[in-house]
Symmetry: C2
Subunit: 300 residues, 2 copies
């Protein structure tokens, strides 16, 4: 392990690695934004509800701007390397009926390229945020998108509202060569992952790691090291992955949060990641940051 020798991660994490220039200066310059919209290379990412919409051309549909489309209904995701603008519609389409194969989003995402998955994740978070923030939390008035879809403004009180990103700590506690994994009651039998929880007002994320391990498993924690972060678009979390040094291994579970928890060795983690028969648990999906945390811990 060479925590200090450079970027922590030589494997890539889904939903990061976007290649678009977000071009934030266009958001606040209406003429430049209108010029981007009118650019013949401009494209619109088409979603199926909030899911990717595969077409014959690719797994994430991108089409030229239709003649009847209205700029105010779209968010600017950014510019491709050649300068081509990419938008997404904020008028959430209805999901296909019947849905092809729910939850198809989980089947498509691993097939997307890293930049495509990052674009999809950012677009999904933004579209979903608009859909769930049609009204002003301050006065209850209707709101409308401004600044290329990166702000909503209240029609009544003019308050501006910004897309929400919720920081979440996700951690492996380590003790005598094993790490602690847990099974949320919502997970299928056998599926374990790293423990996680929202960072609350008034705490650092190291403090949030310590609090969550104490609340959920009764574990006291010493040193906490940051590993890496991941944007997670279900709906819009910032996952902050940490390694925590536990001060003991006796578990007291908060059974409303955690159905099961256990300490696992590197061999057990390797077997789970390799999906071996008889592995001690089913590892988290490759698109989840917990998968990368476990891979990192076993040195793969």
């Amino acid at each position: 392990m060479t925590r200090d020798a450079g970027p922590r991660l030589d494997h890539v994490i889904t939903f990061s690695g976007g290649t678009l220039d977000r071009a934030d200066q266009l958001r606040v310059h209406p003429e430049r934004l209108a010029a981007a919209w009118a650019d013949p290379r401009a494209q619109i990412i088409v979603l199926d509800g909030l899911d990717p919409l595969p077409t014959d051309e690719g797994l994430l549909s991108a089409v030229p701007v239709p003649g009847d489309a209205v700029l105010a209904d779209h968010a600017l995701m950014g510019l491709r390397e050649d300068g081509a603008p990419v938008f997404v519609s904020l008028l959430m389409s209805k999901p296909a009926e019947p849905p092809i194969s729910p939850p198809k989003v989980w089947q498509i995402i691993p097939l997307l390229s890293l930049p495509e998955a990052a674009l999809y994740g950012a677009a999904r978070s933004l579209v979903d945020w608009h859909a769930r923030h049609q009204f002003c939390a301050r006065c209850g008035g209707a709101t409308h998108p401004i600044k290329a879809g990166w702000v909503r403004q209240c029609d009544i009180c003019s308050a501006e509202h910004f897309p929400r990103t919720d920081p979440v700590v996700i951690m492996l506690a380590e003790y005598e060569g094993k790490v602690l994994i847990g099974r949320n009651a919502r997970f299928p039998a056998g599926r374990f992952s790293a423990l996680a929880g929202f960072v609350e007002p008034g705490e650092t994320f190291e403090e949030a790691v310590r609090r969550e391990l104490w609340e959920e498993c009764g574990i006291r924690t010493g040193r906490v090291d940051y590993l890496f972060s991941q944007p997670w678009p279900f709906p819009s979390q910032l996952m902050i992955a940490c390694m925590a040094q536990a001060l003991g291994d006796e578990l007291t579970l908060d059974e409303e949060e955690i159905a099961e928890a256990m300490w696992v060795s590197k061999d057990q983690v390797r077997a789970a990641l390799a999906e071996e028969d008889g592995a001690a648990f089913i590892a988290p999906s490759k698109i989840a940051v917990a998968h990368h945390m476990l891979r990192d811990w076993v040195g793969e």
Copy 2:
């Protein structure tokens, strides 16, 4: 510098270091919450608007629960080490008229103990969030606090809304023995700090660091190292402090964001931190994470 040798920070950062047990299990158990409220040791933190209210007993007023106070109007901040519950009123008091000495909050905070400042910061963020989220962003209906003040629920559509914490990256770019600091147009003349910006949906915080340095100063960045985090209650940010290795030092400023920027040496930073006459800039306040980033960089 011993980035890898343990916790990064041997100096403490204002608004972190809270000592209350947040006791989240009480939030979802009405009987246990009512018992905490009825505990004769229970206290209410009293704010002046959103500011600390000093009294003869201390800089952050805490009083026994008044006989006419209603639990539903209060949030549970947590339990003191001896088990005494601490609440804060969500009915935001009107600030004192005339205000004693605006902005008095900046004068009082450095005088608070670390645990007091952390409690104040968490309470301020939470009270402010309630005040600005009286209505449902989904349907426009009125909302009311539930779960000991840690959730608001819509009276109409029953949607639950959680306190918001916005992740912000704040970074020093380093190049050939100097770091980059900037002056926001809102700052007084001479006051410089680390550059900062909100993490957006669809990016890691390392990516947010690179984007902000590029957007604001035209600087390309290599390696990014996380330093430490700080909860910042104006109104509710999670400051994520990073050191970034710049790939060059030529500046192209976004003048709508940054009025001035400059590269400064360790000697210049030391002089500014020591508030020497003739220092190249006025350093950020000790309560700001940027102050600690600069101290950390010069090895103090």
